[in-house]
């Protein structure tokens, strides 16, 4: 039977296509004289596909995909906001895209990196910044290595990190990569960090600090944040702020003022650079003065002779990535900050929270909200009490049928059948109302016609796919 899928590798012609090879305008030597035969390969099992076939193939594939430009993308903790087109045009300017990382005449790039560090410093309250980390998790690793180095320099042995059970999975994984073991802290019934448990955990003496997301993954701002950071500091620890949820705090409240010592930002969330189907991102980290000497090298500093690049001062954790970081992403974020300015950024925070609460109020009429109180950028509903044993996965797959993307599902882990919803500030009221309308319709279907949910999706290129088969018998290429 013919497959429903056509891979590009099935296309191609025998013609030797040479469209993209410039003229060979020098005298050519016998390749065998340049390189011994034994080092050469015989064939390359890759087809020669005419340009029109390639273009049509990918345009067809794009029709089977969904982006923020298609419609609402309410993935909790992912901040799927609109990506301004001007930032794309700017990033493609030759003076940015064609610059070599090792060229000397790079004052434009250096100035941009320096300026955005200052902006991010103002936004978070932090003193020193590095732009090297390529993503949020990469920033977490850098931040935790800084913690490790800091205590190593002080000659204090600290081997554990406290992470609440509502944290993003990257937090414990990053702590582990930096050589720490994890103390998991159970959230209380308010979805917040229980102060007495934290106090107890910190008293062990070998705890380097805490990793915290605030607002947390339930969308709740921890009212005791100052007490939390105080407890950690009193016990000689440091506080790490996971900036994945910074969007609603823009212009409202700064991690430094909450008592944090290290923060990472996700430029591909808060600062509107495109997610690109999973990357590239950028995860700069900011630190307080005491920790600045430990930042990855190189750092850019301002001197009498202008901006200069400072190499190791001996305390740095070293490099975390080659060259300067994901510069192309940083350019877009810088342009975004300049476009919005102080006023615009404040409006981002406010409207992100307005939109989330608007959805929350309308959805709570039918759906169960385990933590139903004013939220910040996101909130979580649960499949508990759904009619006819309808699960979160059923709801999500049915949402896809209505032509929009589903929320984050089964996260945070502390809520049974979680659906985590983050609309962001760039969704219009019409778009939010449409989402509510669909969710209400799905609730009615769950009551009246549960089969249609259980077998969803129906209107997409494929029906529900077999994840078990994919994992038991992995087919990872053709």
């Amino acid at each position: 039977m013919k497959s429903n899928i056509t891979l590009i590798f099935e296309k191609g012609i025998d013609e030797e296509l040479q469209n993209y090879i410039p003229e060979m305008d020098i005298e050519v030597a016998d390749l065998k004289e340049i390189i011994p035969q034994i080092l050469l390969r015989n064939d390359i099992p890759i087809p020669n596909v005419p340009e029109i076939e390639i273009v049509r193939h990918f345009v067809k594939l794009s029709h089977k995909n969904y982006g923020v430009d298609t419609g609402i993308y309410p993935l909790g903790s992912c901040t799927m906001k609109y990506n301004p087109k001007i930032c794309e045009s700017i990033e493609r300017l030759p003076g940015f895209s064609q610059v070599h990382p090792l060229q000397e005449e790079n004052q434009g790039s250096i100035e941009l990196l320096y300026n955005i560090s200052k902006f991010l410093g103002e936004i978070t309250g932090m003193d020193g910044f590095t732009l090297q980390p390529a993503a949020g998790a990469h920033g977490e690793l850098a931040g935790l290595l800084i913690m490790k180095k800091y205590f190593e320099h002080k000659g204090i042995k600290k081997e554990k990190i406290v992470v609440p059970d509502s944290a993003h999975g990257t937090n414990p994984a990053s702590a582990k990569m930096a050589g720490f073991s994890i103390i998991e802290l159970k959230s209380n019934e308010q979805g917040e960090v229980p102060l007495d448990h934290l106090e107890y955990a910190m008293q062990g003496g070998d705890v380097a600090g805490i990793m915290l997301t605030n607002p947390n993954t339930l969308g709740i701002f921890d009212r005791h944040i100052k007490e939390i950071t105080q407890i950690v500091h009193n016990n000689g620890g440091l506080c790490y702020y996971d900036g994945a949820n910074l969007n609603p705090m823009l212009g409202i409240c700064r991690p430094r003022d909450m008592g944090f010592d290290i923060v990472h930002l996700n430029l591909h969330k808060t600062f509107a650079t495109p997610h690109g189907g999973g990357g590239p991102g950028s995860g700069p980290i900011g630190v307080i003065n005491d920790l600045s000497p430990f930042l990855p090298e190189p750092c850019i500093i301002s001197t009498e002779n202008g901006l200069v690049c400072k190499e190791s001062a001996g305390k740095s954790i070293g490099r975390i990535k080659s060259f300067w970081g994901n510069f192309g992403v940083i350019v877009r974020a810088y342009a975004y900050i300049l476009a919005l300015g102080a006023e615009g950024l404040l409006r981002v925070g406010k409207i992100a929270v307005l939109n989330a609460n608007y959805l929350r109020i309308l959805l709570q009429q039918k759906y169960k909200l385990p933590y139903n109180r004013i939220c910040q950028h996101e909130f979580v509903i649960s499949d508990k009490n759904m009619p006819n044993n309808i699960t979160t996965e059923d709801i999500a797959k049915r949402i896809l049928d209505y032509g929009i993307y589903a929320p984050t599902i089964y996260f945070p882990l502390i809520i049974q059948g979680a659906l985590m919803i983050e609309p962001t500030e760039t969704e219009s009221k019409e778009s939010l109302d449409y989402f509510v309308e669909i969710m209400n319709k799905i609730y009615e279907e769950a009551k009246e016609n549960p089969e249609i949910l259980k077998s969803a999706p129906h209107n997409l290129p494929v029906k529900r796919l077999d994840a078990v088969l994919a994992a038991r018998k992995p087919v990872l290429h053709d």
Partner: protein, 445 residues
């Protein structure tokens, strides 16, 4: 400007539905003294003002007519259709394809990327990407320690110095020891406690190693030591033997050469491949082919996710989440556009043009090619005065080669020269002229 689509009336209406008087009320959980008064940032700009401002900054970076600089970041021709495809907003404004049925387009593209990389490298499996070549190498080092349960890594000199630094940083985090050594000393030092040998070929200095020989020696001396190869410009695979045919355990590379602009060194693409038996220890995302649960159609899905941090949390072998998806799409489109003919053609031109310049430079008195092994598109030249050569290049609007003392202070007056298919004969002649003039005008340096 901002990108909020509400008018004032709408906001009032929404506040009424929520049941609060103003937006500030929604921030009631935040202690009053934590509320920031006003950010000290410039006022927002309109699009034309923003564009003008950004263009001015971009002009402070010099753009040359031709480049002789590589060292981990390369100027290769990028077919126009690469940017066309990655600019389809169904791709670039999408998230990680967690909802498979609504993401079949991107999932198939990643599956095709994995297939493309497997075929090009002849390695069993490729993941969906890492951040860049340096972090791919560091993650490979960590992966070998998990496979072997050993905590010692050897690296051969000739790995990109910044990659060495990154591997050191990652390994320090997990108390993995590192030894940097040479091929000569290696065989005496290898022992049963070594998890892996990491090496680069073509290496940082341009040398193409005889990998079959190296592999044979290592296997004889330490059968359980894994071999990890890294490459900074994998366009050479259009001509040279792929790592899958030389018994390499893990092969990683920087994929920037495959259709991605230099962009001041990022974003690039971390290519990560391995033998199939190491699949479960592999970091990063993987797309697999599967079938409908209740149907016959085939489709694609993120698979083996239980390896990853969002499920395994602190037990995961890596913390990677966001990767370089859009760059892997660019690489796929680039490699398809090239096809087998183009890949061979490009690699051949890089060999030929570099060889041409190498033989010409070597004949200028005072200049000496330092490579004794075959080279691809980079090679080392000892110069009478590197500063003078750099000056003369700039005079001719040529991006000068790397002054290698930046990384190896003891290697004075030595240039790492890079040539690709982008260098026309005219630019090569201009470089030769610059080298000749630099010889006569040492003082200018």
């Amino acid at each position: 400007m901002d990108f909020v689509p509400h008018d004032r009336k709408t906001i009032t209406e929404m506040l009424r539905v929520i049941g609060v008087a103003d937006i500030e009320e929604l921030f009631q959980d935040i202690p009053k003294d934590l509320i920031k008064e006003k950010l000290d940032l410039p006022t927002g700009l309109s699009e034309p003002d923003l564009f003008r401002h950004m263009e001015e900054i971009s002009r402070k970076n010099k753009i040359y007519t031709s480049s002789f600089l590589g060292a981990g970041c390369y100027y290769h021709y990028i077919p126009s259709l690469v940017d066309f495809v990655i600019s389809r907003s169904e791709f670039y404004t999408s998230y990680t394809p967690y909802q498979a049925e609504a993401s079949q387009g991107y999932l198939q593209a990643i599956y095709e990327y994995q297939t493309m990389i497997s075929r090009l490298t002849q390695m069993d499996i490729a993941n969906a990407s890492m951040y860049d070549g340096s972090t791919a190498l560091a993650e490979a080092a960590i992966m070998t320690t998990l496979i072997t349960n050993k905590k010692s890594i050897f690296m051969l000199e000739g790995i990109h110095p910044e990659y060495i630094e990154v591997v050191k940083t990652y390994c320090w985090g997990q108390n993995i020891s590192i030894e940097i050594t040479t091929e000569d000393k290696l065989l005496n030092q290898l022992n049963e406690d070594v998890a892996a040998l990491l090496f680069q070929s073509p290496n940082f200095f341009g040398d193409i190693e005889d990998i079959s020989k190296l592999v044979k020696h290592v296997r004889e001396k330490a059968p359980n030591c894994l071999l990890v190869q890294v490459m900074t410009d994998p366009t050479c695979l259009g001509v040279i033997k792929p790592p899958g045919l030389t018994d390499i355990d893990i092969f990683v590379a920087e994929g920037q050469s495959f259709g991605i602009s230099p962009s001041f060194g990022g974003p690039g693409l971390g290519i990560f491949t391995a033998k199939k038996k190491y699949l479960r220890k592999m970091p990063g995302r993987l797309v697999g082919k599967t079938k409908e649960i209740n149907g016959t159609r085939e489709g694609f899905i993120l698979t083996l996710q239980a390896r990853e941090q969002h499920i395994r949390r602190e037990k995961a072998s890596s913390n990677i989440c966001t990767n370089q998806a859009l760059c892997s799409l660019a690489a796929l489109v680039y490699l398809l556009a090239m096809g087998r003919t183009g890949l061979k053609g490009i690699a051949t031109q890089n060999f030929q043009k570099a060889h041409y310049l190498k033989s010409k430079i070597g004949k200028i008195p005072g200049y000496k090619i330092l490579n004794t092994k075959p080279t691809y598109n980079e090679f080392l030249v000892k110069c009478p005065s590197i500063d003078s050569l750099i000056y003369q290049c700039k005079q001719r609007n040529l991006l000068p080669p790397l002054k290698i003392s930046k990384y190896y202070p003891q290697m004075k007056n030595t240039a790492l020269v890079c040539i690709t298919e982008m260098n026309s004969k005219d630019s090569i002649e201009a470089f030769i002229q610059a080298a000749q003039v630099a010889l006569n005008n040492k003082a200018e340096g």
